[in-house]
């Protein structure tokens, strides 16, 4: 049976709620990483889902709902981080806060932060959100091959950094 637009939208909001509850940790991790702040990361996830509800009728179903939400989360995080940097007078995205009271963030996380923005975003989506290439491509509205190429470049950069550190 075909659903009416309002039925479909109500269903999708319910799906958004389910997605939020099921994947909150992944969304939060990525948002915190992209913004460099626990507070801003949490704010990002909340605002992104609010925006997703507001715009649910624009979701055309041409990609999975989760990928569409990821797109909003990533855009919200980037904009929020830049806004925060501007308001604080910094020209760049702020460095991460201490995590769980620890200042000794894993080196790899710091290395990841040194990557160009697009590489960094894709690395976070791949390893923290555990998205496959297709989902990352949908989320960022880019080609699967571009995801692959960008991850390859990120791996190459990280390998170089790893080798430069005495073990």
């Amino acid at each position: 049976m075909r659903r009416t637009p309002s039925q479909r939208t109500s269903l999708q909001v319910s799906e958004l709620e389910a997605l939020y509850k099921q994947r909150f940790a992944a969304f939060a991790r990525v948002a915190i990483s992209l913004t460099g702040s626990v507070e801003l990361g949490q704010e990002t996830v909340q605002e992104a889902f609010a925006r997703a509800i507001e715009q649910i009728e624009r979701f055309r179903g041409d990609c999975p709902l989760e990928a569409w939400v990821w797109r909003i989360v990533v855009n919200t995080a980037h904009t929020g981080a830049r806004r925060a940097a501007y308001e604080s007078g910094d020209a760049v995205v702020p460095e991460p806060e201490e995590k769980n009271g620890r200042a000794d963030l894993p080196t790899v996380q710091l290395w990841v932060r040194s990557l160009p923005e697009r590489q960094r975003t894709i690395v976070f989506l791949r390893y923290w959100a555990d998205l496959d290439y297709r989902s990352i491509a949908d989320a960022l509205e880019i080609e699967v091959g571009t995801v692959s190429a960008t991850l390859s470049a990120a791996h190459r950069s990280l390998r170089q950094l790893i080798e430069e550190v005495p073990r």
Binding site: T79, R82, V108, V112, E117, R118, V123
Partner: protein, 467 residues
Amino acid sequence: MIDAETLIREQLSGLDPLPPTLSANWEDVLSRVQCPAPAPRERARVRPRRLVLAATVTAIFAIACFATPLGAAIGRGLGDFSDWISGSPGTPASPEDQQVFEQENARSWNGFPTGTQLRELLQTEAAGMTFKLFGFRSGDSLCLRLVVSGQGGGTRTSCAPVSALQQLNEPALVVDADEGFGTIGKTPPPNGYLPQKAAATFGIVSDGVKGVLVAGEGDDQQALVGGNAFLYVADHPALGARVSSVKAITGDGSEVALPFSRAPFGAEDMTLDTPSGRPVSGPTGIERKVEDGTIAWLRRHEERGQAVTAKEADPYRDVSERRDYAESDVFARLLTPAEGGATRALLAWSSGAICFGLYGPADRYFDCYSADEVFAGDRWLGGEVGPSPLQYSLTIYYGSDQFARFYGFVSDDVHELDLYLTDGSVQKVEIRNNVFATWIDRSMFPIRIVSRDKQGAIIGNKVVQNP
């Protein structure tokens, strides 16, 4: 899985759990919803938004070379670009400039061939910097190299295949647009970007071109023309200003619009402004479903191309860094995807994985895939139709480049690979030993990638909106 990937996974997974102060709160989400939405609960706004959704940000990709439709009507002979074809546009570069080029080139394992002669094409001053445009030919590529000296300066090299000129219907070719140099100020505006000191747009012109007009937000601007090239430098362009079109003025004074794709502005502008607005061309659907694709010669260790030794530094390093390298028999071969080109492709077989690499003056790529899954289709390609017999990457490294790099490898099932462009032409992709590497004009998107078997039946079909 490569070492870097394992390390990233291990260390990032160690960051669990989330800070204890962080927890899901759906009610809070609902309270932020500003417009009526069919959510079943109260959604009164309790506090103002803290995040402003507005900005677009920068995107800088990498260097590339390019191509133009092989199937396009040939409206001109190569004679119009004869100086380029012979590798002698402009005048010889000074010994100092040649030496700098050779020193930089020598740092790469697979740079431009030794003895490549730099030609000086144009020079100008803007924004307190000196812009020198050089050109040279390397195999099947014609390259422009812009060297900018002064504070904020740098070097950009972009190339075009000779075939691009062979197929060109217009008297000139834009190679690179709005390459930015230097920034103004220290504190960025809300969108996070500082204005640039200068932005350069440059390309190749044929003998009969008398001038080039570059249009942005204002009136047309005259570019410098000389040495079978053009160079336009916007001095202190407005933030986000982009060249929107380029026209060549021919000998009789007529203006000819050149194929052009605007450079993106902003990191969130991940979808480049390339679709032509024209419909996708070419056949739809597939005529035969292919399963269990493979590369037989690689699996049986047939010695095609050349072996990878320590002398081939970059591919050797990539292959030897495979985690299971020491434990397994890695069979790796270096191949030439396009005759006469400097770029080399790597195909390797290792423990059920197929690895592919691309190495050249503007190319650097390496990745491994499960041999069982790489040709499985939708998982990788997201194609409109089922199992796909090719694996590819479609990449623009720097958003300023006018051509996207298209490279990858195909299973033995693929006999022909065609790109259907929006001008109605078909660009045939050369496949050699199952690998390919070419360029696609960004102004010809969206494109359709069609692969056919030996009988000419379509076995893969995918529309790509953007690189």
